[in-house]
Amino acid sequence: MPRVVISLDETALQDIDETVAALRRAGLSVDDVLRTTGVVTGSIDGTRVLADLRSVSGVRDVEQERGYDVGPPDSEVQ
């Protein structure tokens, strides 16, 4: 299940639930709806659906989720 982060258009923030519902119909399993920044996070079934998410009205960007690592506590440089 590829994990994605999605930003919504400024204009879509008014009726954000409608856009989130459309994202669900396009195959997104929603984790978080961040209403202030206009971001939706979740996962999709297969990479092919990415384009489907991009075509949902109100969607600005769809990006694959990245990982971060500051290293173990004893690493030389943090």
Binding site: R66, G67, V70, P73, Q78
Partner: protein
């Protein structure tokens, strides 16, 4: 063709682990038309040298890497191929490498840290009357040691965005960063080490006790900080990037919206350089976004730290620098204190000064950014390494 940024103008194409070298060679040809010559280990070195100078591409089949002369259109198609499924995993500029110079002799420390850390002294914190009082600073990191005695009586708000972990810092990184940005100036048995020592602390845990996290947690942490009216978000975290990789449009938009809400995001430039061998790596994600302030690290001689990422190409710029070498700050009990180095340690120095400026001038967002840049101490070092210079308390 050597370029000024330490690369050769050629590109290295890495094959996927699961693909054969032949498939990689075929894919390069399919997308760019470039014919690569495979090198055989039994070839005479003179033959190898001749082929390297004449061919458009060489495939090092054993290494599963090709080196190609690609123009910008071919490069773009290679990058598309790397981004999609298929035998090409990664494309990056070929670098010029240098012999490792002898390590400089270690000097005995002449730093006087009897009252304040060298970092506080370098940014002029002891001479400033600003304390950060009334300003909310969010530190998105590995959490916080909520029972640390140095923070008794302080206003601390916490939240964890890491699954199955509470905010208690099981790593040390987060408590260290909070100590530098917002820790105390007067401590029993050690130097004062906190910049904005009366700021309100918002400790958001977005990295696990092992030090790892994802976009999801970081975005949730940013949202939480904005909703709590934090003027400053300090993020000592990042993911390494390859030169000329576009910044994330999503994080840039989030940063723009944060700015509109009065929240400045300050992030570590990254530690991927090794200047001891002449390697300068670009600013990592998300510090490479134009609306996020990227912080590099200096050492006590006010030289750029060997690991500090630099401005490479057109994407991602170092905006400012701060002390990031052997920084003394808080870590979870019972250890209480530790010295750490990294752009992670430089970032909270800038966040603390940002809180001081926000208190002193009422500045937020872009005005805060402008005052941080304008107030920084200019350094006789490339702006590509240090941006506007060494951050200074107001």
């Amino acid at each position: 063709m050597a370029t000024s940024d330490g690369t050769t103008g050629r590109y290295l194409v890495l094959y996927e682990e699961s693909a054969t070298a032949a498939a990689g060679v075929q894919e390069i040809n399919d997308v760019t038309g470039i014919q690569t010559v495979s090198l055989d280990p039994s070839d005479e070195s003179s033959v190898v040298a001749e082929r390297l100078s004449q061919a458009d591409g060489i495939s090092f089949d054993k290494l599963r890497v090709a080196c190609v002369d690609a123009d910008s259109a071919q490069l773009s198609r290679l990058r598309d191929a790397a981004a999609g499924p298929g035998p090409i995993a990664m494309v990056e500029p070929e670098r010029i490498v240098h012999a490792i110079p002898a390590a400089p002799a270690t000097e005995a420390s002449t730093l006087d840290e009897s009252v304040y850390t060298w970092g506080l002294q370098a940014i002029g914190a002891p001479g400033s009357d600003a304390t950060g009082k009334g300003i909310r600073v969010a530190v998105l990191d590995t959490g916080f040691d909520v029972k640390h005695p140095d923070f008794a009586g302080r206003t601390v708000t916490t939240a964890s965005f890491v699954k199955d972990e509470d905010v208690q810092d099981g790593h040390g990184h987060g408590t260290h960063c909070i100590g530098t940005s917002c820790g105390p100036r007067k401590v029993d048995g050690g130097p004062g080490y906190g910049v904005a020592y009366e700021a309100e602390i918002f400790a958001g845990k977005v990295l696990s006790n092992k030090g790892s996290g994802t976009d999801r947690g970081i975005l949730a942490g940013i949202e939480w900080a904005i909703n709590n009216d934090c003027a400053v978000i300090s993020m000592s975290l990042g993911a390494a990037t390859a030169p000329d990789t576009p910044f994330s449009p999503l994080f840039e938009e989030v940063a723009v919206r944060a700015m509109a809400a009065g929240t400045l995001i300050i992030a570590a430039a990254g530690n991927e350089s090794d200047r001891r061998v002449g390697r300068i790596n670009p600013v990592g994600h998300p510090a490479n976004c134009p609306s996020i302030m990227a912080v590099g690290a200096t050492d006590p001689k006010t030289e750029i730290a060997y690991f500090s990422c630099g401005t490479v190409g057109d994407i991602g710029a170092v905006d400012i620098v701060a002390p990031g070498w052997d920084v003394h700050s808080s870590v979870p009990m019972p250890k209480r204190y530790a010295k750490m180095k990294g752009t992670s340690m430089a970032t909270p120095h800038v966040a603390g000064v940002a809180a001081q400026i926000a208190q002193k001038y009422g500045s937020r967002a872009w005005e805060l950014w402008a005052r941080l840049a304008q107030g920084s101490r200019r350094l006789p070092l490339p702006s590509t390494d240090v941006g506007s210079g060494l951050v200074q308390a107001p």
